[in-house]
């Protein structure tokens, strides 16, 4: 029997039971739509995570002390710094971090001891008000846009700056308040860039140690995260300060070096070089975090795939039941088809084509419905969710990247049609095995 004739008879069968066909196709549609929706939203979330987490310091490597396999362990001192500097190859920079580095917080804490409480001058200090270590009761929060930064008077003699080795004295989130006054937040490139220019161009930071000495600091920022902006002090001064202020506590070895590559693709080479030099380069904590988050997103994706398979299984059971009932109802028709020359193979083919048609139509409807629904909800909910969840920069809830959009829909179509065909095998086989004499007599 010709395939076209089988298709013709299959379509007649589909049309002969419109209600049941509609319900079956509706089931397939809902399943397919759920599948497309689920995968799209997971892909959308993964893209968001990749974009926002992946952008943070991906081009950094951290060199730490070798642990068990290092005999003896190589100390991270200045000679090590030079060794890594010489072996790493072209890099953007190598930064050293001290275990008790002169971070501002530590300085402030230590300032309650015999040392003179230093001042941060030359910048409006309203932003520091939330830090209890500061006792400037007279400062009030102001809008930085309205502030004219005065030249601090008097400024103690400033230890001359040197070009090299500024050590970031990280103060987490200290600049967030700056940015808030400018109306922006983390992840907004424009605001961050504006902030960078604003602060670098107008504000000057000093750490005043005593009446005769002050360190001029500078603002450094290595990426687009505002919280990563730091006040940096020349390392040499940090060492000097340490010797001067805490002679009983010599500066220890560095806790780690941070190597910044020019480009992410250089990381492998740099890593290899550093390993050859006998040191242990690792991803940064932020990278670790991004890996964890990415793994989380992958896990979510796996969960979504599991849900998709469950949806497919439920749909398959539904289609199987629907087609089985349909075949029982159509037993006399099958008897007639057999009596006029249909082979078992013809009958099973006809019913498999019916399952295929139902699956195809259901999938197409489901895909279109899901597409429209996602498009609508993207417009309606994007801003709302962005505000509610405080996740800045949500461009879209779903994945709309062109090839991915196509693959998701084609995948859903393939899975839906395959599920329908798979679910149709049993009923089609049963239809083919019906005894025509029996069903014709019963009918």
């Amino acid at each position: 029997m010709k395939l076209t004739n089988k298709m013709l008879l299959a379509c007649e069968g589909v049309m002969a039971k419109k209600g049941r066909t509609f319900m079956l196709a509706l089931g397939v549609s809902v399943g397919t739509a759920a599948l497309v929706f689920l995968v799209s939203i997971i892909f959308g979330a993964k893209a968001y995570v990749d974009k926002n987490v992946g952008a943070i310091r991906e081009n950094l490597l951290v060199v730490k002390m070798k642990e068990k396999d290092s005999t003896p362990a190589k100390a991270l001192d200045d000679s090590a710094y030079r060794a890594i500097e010489n072996s790493a190859g072209p890099v953007k920079g190598i930064y050293r971090e001290l275990p008790i580095d002169p971070r501002l917080g530590i300085l402030i804490k230590d300032a309650s001891a015999p040392f003179k409480v230093f001042d941060v001058v030359g910048v409006d200090v309203g932003l520091f008000k939330s830090y209890p270590q500061f006792k400037h009761n007279d400062v009030q929060p102001v809008n930085l846009k309205d502030v004219t930064f005065p030249t601090p008077t008097p400024v103690p003699p400033i230890v001359q700056e040197e070009k090299e080795d500024y050590v970031p004295i990280l103060v987490p989130n200290i600049f967030m308040e700056f940015v808030s006054t400018l109306g922006g937040g983390g992840g907004n490139d424009t605001i961050v860039e504006e902030f960078r220019k604003y602060v670098e161009g107008r504000a000057t930071f000093y750490i005043v140690v005593d009446d005769n000495k002050a360190y001029r600091c500078k603002v450094v920022g290595r990426d687009n995260s505002v919280s990563r902006f730091s006040i940096a002090v020349p390392y040499r001064y940090a060492v000097e300060w340490n010797k001067e202020q805490r002679p009983d506590r010599p500066l220890p070895n560095y806790s780690r070096f941070v190597v910044e590559a020019n480009e992410i693709k250089d990381l492998d080479n740099i890593k290899e070089n550093i390993v050859l030099a006998g040191y242990l380069p690792q991803p940064t904590e932020v990278q670790d975090m991004s890996i964890i988050v990415s793994r989380g997103a992958t896990y979510l994706f796996a969960v979504a795939v599991t849900f998709c398979l469950i949806i497919a299984l439920v749909a398959a059971i539904g289609i199987f039941n629907g087609l089985s009932i349909s075949i029982m109802e159509q037993a006399p028709r099958i008897g007639i088809l057999r009596s006029v020359g249909g082979t078992r193979s013809d009958i099973s083919s006809i019913y498999l084509i019916e399952a295929f048609v139902i699956g195809l139509v259901g999938c197409l409807i489901g895909i279109v419905a899901a597409h429209l629904f996602m498009w609508g909800s993207d417009i309606a909910l994007r801003d709302f969710l962005s505000d509610v969840t405080n996740l800045r920069g949500i461009d879209t809830l779903f994945s709309w990247d062109f090839p991915k959009v196509l693959y998701i829909r084609l995948g859903a179509l393939g899975l839906g049609v395959f599920t329908s065909l798979f679910a149709g095998v049993g009923p089609a086989y049963r239809a083919a095995r019906l005894n025509p004499a029996v069903v014709l007599r019963a009918g």
């Binding site: 029997m1 004739n5 049309m15 006029v340 020359g341 082979t343 009918g443």
Partner: protein, 237 residues
């Protein structure tokens, strides 16, 4: 030369209780080509089983059935299906039409199984519907036709592939007397004009009397076989 030949045919069913029930018991029957035969008997006597056996819808437990050169006993599914498609036309009491399909769509089906194109099948359906007097019902749905018209559509479907044998199972069972007579006349006409062997199963003696040969079945056995087969005679088997 017999177009239908049954030798020692028995059909035994196993009942739910495990006992055996003989629907046909040692049947011997020869029917020459072009004959018009009526098979009569009470319900459960084995008439329909005999018809199904001849039509290749069922196979005997014992004996041999040879119809139009095909050994039904040994034929596989593909051969039996082709045999039914080419050689047999079935007509049923309850018509078995697709109610939502047009008369033409119902009639076309056997030709579709014979690898004809849709257009060829449609053209032939038109011819056959004209032959049974339903040329004007070509595009009418089956559920819009009367019972007599439905049976005519079923007859058109049965003859669309020019079968050598027509098997009608109670073709007038759902029709009034007048319409039933028309259907029998139509079948007789086809039998006469196309030399199609016609085998009608009925419990209606009036219908059976139209046939040139009448076979009576009781309890799965042929108890009489009267008519043109060498003149009227009683047969005990």
């Amino acid at each position: 030369m017999a177009i239908i030949s049954l030798k020692n045919v028995s059909k035994i069913y196993r009942t739910a209780t495990g006992s055996h029930l003989a629907a046909l018991d040692n049947i011997n029957l020869d029917i020459p080509a072009g004959e018009f035969v009526a098979v009569i008997g009470q319900s459960g006597s084995g008439k329909t089983t005999l018809l199904n056996m001849i039509g290749g819808l069922d196979q005997p437990s014992e004996g041999s059935v040879i119809v139009d050169g095909h050994d039904i006993t040994t034929a596989g599914d593909a051969e039996l299906s082709q045999f039914r498609n080419k050689s047999i036309g079935f007509i049923f009491q309850s018509f078995h039409l697709q109610q939502l399909q047009t008369a033409a769509a119902n009639v076309m089906v056997p030709m579709l199984f014979a690898n004809a194109s849709w257009a060829e099948a449609r053209a032939m359906a038109e011819t056959r519907l004209a032959l049974v007097g339903l040329a004007d019902k070509f595009n009418q749905r089956a559920n819009q036709l009367s019972a007599g018209q439905c049976q005519r559509v079923a007859i058109a479907r049965a003859i669309i592939n020019n079968p050598t044998i027509l098997l009608a199972d109670e073709p007038t069972g759902n029709l009034d007397i007048h319409t039933g007579a028309e259907i029998i006349n139509l079948l007789s006409k086809i039998n006469a004009e196309q030399n199609t062997t016609l085998l009608i199963v009925t419990h209606d003696r009036e219908v059976a009397s139209q046939a040139r040969r009448m076979i009576t079945i009781e309890g799965g056995r042929i108890v009489s076989d009267t008519g043109t087969k060498g003149g009227n005679h009683e047969t005990d088997q």
